[in-house]
Symmetry: C2
Subunit: 158 residues, 2 copies
DNA sequence: CAGCGTTGCTAACTATTGCAAGCACATTGC
DNA sequence: GCAATGTGCTTGCAATAGTTAGCAACGCTG
């Protein structure tokens, strides 16, 4: 049933592989393309095209797909090129942008954060992963986090 | 030159008024619709339609407009319904999602962050705002923050 | 085996985005 | 006054997103 795919639109086959990512998440969830399409409220042929990189879905469609897959829409946005991660990382940026903190507090938080990060790098220890509040298996979540970081680096190089 | 606008698509006239926001930002920047369109790399009739809520621009167009206005694309995404703010806030979410921190470190950071926020709330002091790295006047930035929160609530009710 | 259901995909179609050509009006300088 | 230029908008159209109808292949069951 699996057909050989021709090389179509190499751009969509780059590191930032939205379609491949959606397909992988769907496989992990062990649901068919039609089931996902139904849950997401999109047509199954269209989802097929998206997965194969033949179409570029809107943010609205990405949101629907993300919801159906129980993953963050941001993960899809980043791969679709709608969102970029920031060079300082999400935590640094969020702290700097918080209008309810003064400069001193921001600096303290950043220092603590940086020392924690340095602590982990020095020990080489794999941090204990906490279960995410979402109803997702841990394996899927950690893959998501890792993939986001990889996508960030490849985009910075562009 | 200002013509009376008919009530068009009341949905686009809601709290989440993307077009009105773009027009306001443009007015603040004191540039004409054509100048902004040129800077953004979009057609001026289309920008006109976007401002009047007649069209729903893609994320790509929003990004171009944001860049031309020297504002964050996220600000436009939120108003376009592409992004939502999170209930825990960006800092809490970023910390929880950081795969390079272990549970203990996350908890410590969250405790510090929470105590800082409580500290400010108890004293009622207006935290000293650090100048945003962007070239935006403070008045505009605070207005943006307020509007984001309002937009979130209206979307939750849907 | 035949029948049925599921699967992912093709092709034609509809809906919408975004653009080009052009309009009416306002402003500026001679 | 006039011509030149600037302004925001209208209209028609091309391109693309997204859907519908249907196909071929596969797996399961009696």
């Amino acid at each position: 049933m699996e057909r050989m795919e021709r090389p179509v639109k190499a751009v969509n086959r780059a590191v930032n592989d939205l379609g491949g990512y959606i397909r992988a998440q769907r496989a992990t969830a062990q649901i068919s393309l039609r089931q996902l399409a139904k849950r997401a409220g999109v047509s199954n042929p269209y989802l097929s095209q998206v997965e194969r990189g033949l179409r570029k879905p809107s943010a609205e469609i990405l949101q629907q797909i993300a919801n159906a897959l129980r993953i963050s829409a941001e993960a899809l946005y980043v791969r679709a090129g709608i969102l970029e991660s920031r060079p300082g990382g999400p935590v640094v940026d969020a702290i700097l942008a918080d209008t309810e903190l003064n400069d001193r507090q921001k600096q303290v938080l950043l220092d603590v954060y940086t020392s924690f990060r340095g602590e982990n790098a020095a020990s080489g220890a794999v941090p204990v992963r906490d279960p995410e509040p979402r109803d997702e298996p841990e394996s899927r979540e950690s893959r998501d986090g890792t993939a986001v970081h990889e996508a960030v680096r490849s985009e910075s190089e562009e």
